[in-house]
Symmetry: C2
Subunit: 551 residues, 2 copies
């Protein structure tokens, strides 16, 4: 029978159709960094001279061990991040990125062993490590909600269960996805100051604000914004060909009401103007085309630095174009509240820059410094990470770096199915009759573009049904639609269907659409996956006495 | 041999692989609108009462004939445009849209015949027609360049040959594609005035500017902008399933330097402010979400009217969001020059609104009136035309109108191959060796989004090569890249290949991409086709003595 909408079906548990496969071979433990008398001994100063693959290779140190990682760089799962440790001890980095605490990693390392580090250097490095970290860099991280699915615990990266995420337009703070690059800083608000410096402020000058000063000097604004990680849906992309990075599923995004002051108001109060970003000379016939490079004296980018620091004491950092920062219509906030509460530590306490419609990586947390510059942020995450690559380029490609695209700011139009979940079994009353299945999901586009439509297919894309869009999502202002649009659709599944593939794709207000398939947008960093989302489920007849069978 | 780049090949003529098929059956002439004594007679006032499919049906008149077109509306190739003539004579409309002057159209019309029009009404309508048009509405249209490929002569619609279009970054005025909806007005500049009226100007008030006043009161600006028709590449979409509209190939777009004054400067001089578009009441927690409809007193849209008029004397019209008009970063111009010359008549003399990064239809030509309103333009072209529809909806769908998407403003990321042309034969020196083929094309995205990359494939999309981007295209300002990015690539074709399919797809600065295929974005209006572009060519060995064979 094809009774009322969604009446005849119920979701019964998460019986995954295909579980993640585990290698059967158990990794035998290997203790890395022990002294090996048969190998030569080097001073730390020797190691420090080996920082380039073109000049003597790249060496690193781990306890007593000296290693040549020159050839390993191309296959390092963390990509070029390993270069941060060139000529240094990798131990402080491994403490930050706990994924290295595995026997197979230790075995790889020992395979690259070339010597021993001088005893006095080993002692000096160990002393430094203890001073810096005591009980370990992550010992001060906050406690998290148990519902979060953890992709990496150090640094902490986790996404909410899809069926909980779509319960509300605004995500509760506890369920908001967490993407940390480093340990969460423990900020004493009494000591906290925001510093602003760079072009337009004056040579060597610095303007500072306490949090109270920011709150009292500028008008408060509240904006509903979705933040999405560039790596959302990376797990699907890995299914085509292995990529580097955290294996995010479909919920590396969430939505909150952020309250703060407009960055454009703050910049205006400092006398920073639109004109500061225009060359003083007329170098082009058409005003929108630049014909010269002599623009070092004008502000082009606004750099942000967080209080979270790496093993070297360097801040997490990122930047956005000056035109975005200065435009009041872009709604960039220096936010101190998340859903009406002080921003939780995991999400940027005490101050976070919110750049609506822009990839999560630029929404810098624990913000403590703003630099107005003619250049993008010099940080690793702006320069080397979060960029697109063509589908044919991987770490084996010669000079792969020359194919790197612009650092990601806006993300492409996106949608995904959150219910039913991939691999689920759905109980229906009678398989010999048609039945209704309720499908839920989200759609979002960057740059403020509104979601116009979400199409759903259950026949592989031959025919499509428009979903019902959530009222709050659909009522956002034109080109200021910073938050997602949740959607729902009840589809009639024909009689006899036991395996169902569900597809969705969204259309935004520029009528951009999601591409049909992943392979043509595959990239070695595993970012920017916005191909049609596909979910496969099984339909079974429910047993007498089960929920829904009495109707 | 695989000699130097593009050396071993030459394009030899346009030997189309597949010519357009013509129906062999000759249409026998039928003279419509003759008096038929066996049918009842109606007064024009009777006909005027039949304007709705729900109340007595839709009637129209042609000379002596009265016709019931109620059931024909759904299959009318011009879509709902036929409703403009409901209860009226269709003759003035047929004079504007010359596609009706065919025997098969006349035969369809007589098949819908239900009666005769009263003699005195026939005479009155004929008198009116002569007064209005004299020698015909298009007799004053300008002379056009013979290179243009004409898709419709009345109104005039034509596109440049692709191999000429990509000869230069800026399109010469004579080759710029022409998309007219109506006859070109013959404007006497002595009589010309731009009128501005509506909300923010004052009840019943009107501000006027002569062209000289506009030129002397405001700063001149020059912007390089590509204008694209929403129907560009419609011909390919028709290949999937028939759509309504002009059969544009791949060049319903061109690029010019437009000089004029900023609409934002003009509005500012009139005291029209950002605040005029914000509700006075606070109706939402989040500033970017509107929770009420009580916004009739604030400016939401800027309507434009041209001096080109339809059979009823109504102007062509369109509108854009007020936020676009008022934002100086959106570069909306009231333009009076095109590539340094007064705008040619076909392109909007004496004044045209240029809305960079927005579909051609909103760049209203022959601009003579601006209305600030809480509503979009009431014109047919804003309300009923230029909207997206889901792929499963066509004119046979019940209540198809309820599936209409928002009126198109920005268009999705686009690219196409302009050389070689589809169906061409390419001569290479030696088919038993590999050879190089030069591929050219354009890429463009709306909303100012820059083109980051164009990928080309010759193996059906299994592997992709990034093309070389034109310097002027690539150097446009971030999110103000209003003009296209031409590109070129020399690809090596393996030995033995005689049939080649070439594909291209572009990536813009929001990392949006073109979808793989047309069917999932098919829509009954045939607009918004931005699927991967595909071109098929044949490779043949060149005869001795042919161009290029001596190398």
């Amino acid at each position: 029978m094809a009774a009322g909408v969604a009446a005849g079906c119920a979701l019964v548990g998460a019986t995954a159709l295909a579980e993640a496969k585990k290698t059967e071979e158990e990794d035998a433990p290997v203790q890395p960094g022990l002294f090996k008398p048969e190998l030569p001994t080097y001073a730390l100063s020797d190691v420090q001279e080996h920082t380039s693959s073109k000049k003597g290779g790249i060496w690193v140190v781990y306890k007593h061990g000296v290693y040549d990682v020159t050839k390993f760089v191309a296959t390092h799962p963390g990509g070029t991040k390993i270069l941060l440790a060139a000529g240094k001890s990798i131990e402080p980095f491994w403490q930050l990125f706990a994924a290295h605490n595995h026997a197979h990693v230790h075995r790889i390392l020992e395979g690259l062993r070339i010597g021993n580090l001088r005893e006095e250097d080993v002692i000096a490095l160990e002393k430094l490590r203890k001073e810096r970290y005591g009980d370990g860099p992550y010992s001060q991280d906050p406690v998290r909600h148990p519902a979060l699915k953890i992709n990496s615990s150090q640094p902490f990266n986790a996404e909410p269960p899809p069926e909980l995420l779509m319960e509300s337009f605004i995500t509760p703070n506890e369920l908001f996805f967490v993407r940390n690059h480093l340990p969460v800083p423990n900020v004493n608000i009494e000591d906290y100051k925001l510093k602003i410096t760079g072009l337009g402020i004056g040579e060597g000058k610095e303007v500072t604000f306490t949090l109270d000063e920011l709150k009292t000097k500028f008008k408060h604004r509240t904006i509903a914004t979705t933040i999405q990680c560039a790596g959302n849906r990376r797990a699907e992309m890995s299914g085509i060909k292995q990529v580097n990075g955290l294996s995010w599923d479909t919920t590396a995004l969430s939505t909150a009401n952020w309250t703060g002051v407009a960055l454009s108001d703050v910049l205006e109060s400092l006398g920073v103007k639109e004109e500061d970003c225009r060359p003083v000379h007329e170098c082009a016939v058409s005003e929108n085309i630049e014909n010269c490079d002599d623009c070092n004296s004008v502000i082009q980018h606004v750099q942000f630095e967080g209080l979270d620091v790496d093993a070297e004491g360097k801040s997490y950092g990122a930047s956005i174009p000056f035109s975005t920062a200065l435009d009041p219509r872009k709604d960039v906030l220096l936010a101190f509240e998340m859903n009406g509460e002080p921003i939780p530590r995991d999400h940027g306490y005490p101050l976070r820059v919110i750049v609506p419609g822009t990839v999560g990586a630029r929404n810098v947390k624990f913000l403590h410094r703003i630099v107005l510059s003619h250049e993008e942020s010099p940080s690793f995450w702006q320069q080397k990470d979060y960029r697109g690559f063509p589908p044919n380029v991987d770490y084996q490609t010669e000079d792969y770096w020359k194919f790197a695209g612009a650092s990601i700011q806006e993300l492409p139009v996106q949608s995904a199915i959150t219910e039913p979940k991939h691999g689920m079994t759905i109980a229906v009353e009678d398989l010999s009759d048609s039945s209704f299945v309720t499908i839920k999901g989200y759609a979002w586009s960057c740059g403020g573009r509104n979601i116009l439509r979400v199409d759903v297919s259950i026949d592989g894309g031959m025919s499509w049904f428009p979903a019902e869009l959530h009222k709050s999502g659909a009522r956002q202002k034109y080109n200021r639609a910073w938050a997602w649009t949740p959607w729902v659709l009840d589809v009639e599944v024909p009689a006899g269907v036991k395996e169902l593939e569900i597809l969705c794709k969204a259309v935004d207000s520029s009528y951009n659409v999601q591409p049909d398939s992943i392979a043509p947008i595959w990239n070695m960093r595993g970012v920017l996956n916005n191909a049609w989302h596909r979910v496969r489920v099984e339909l079974v007849e429910e047993e007498p006495g089960e929920e829904g069978s009495e109707e």
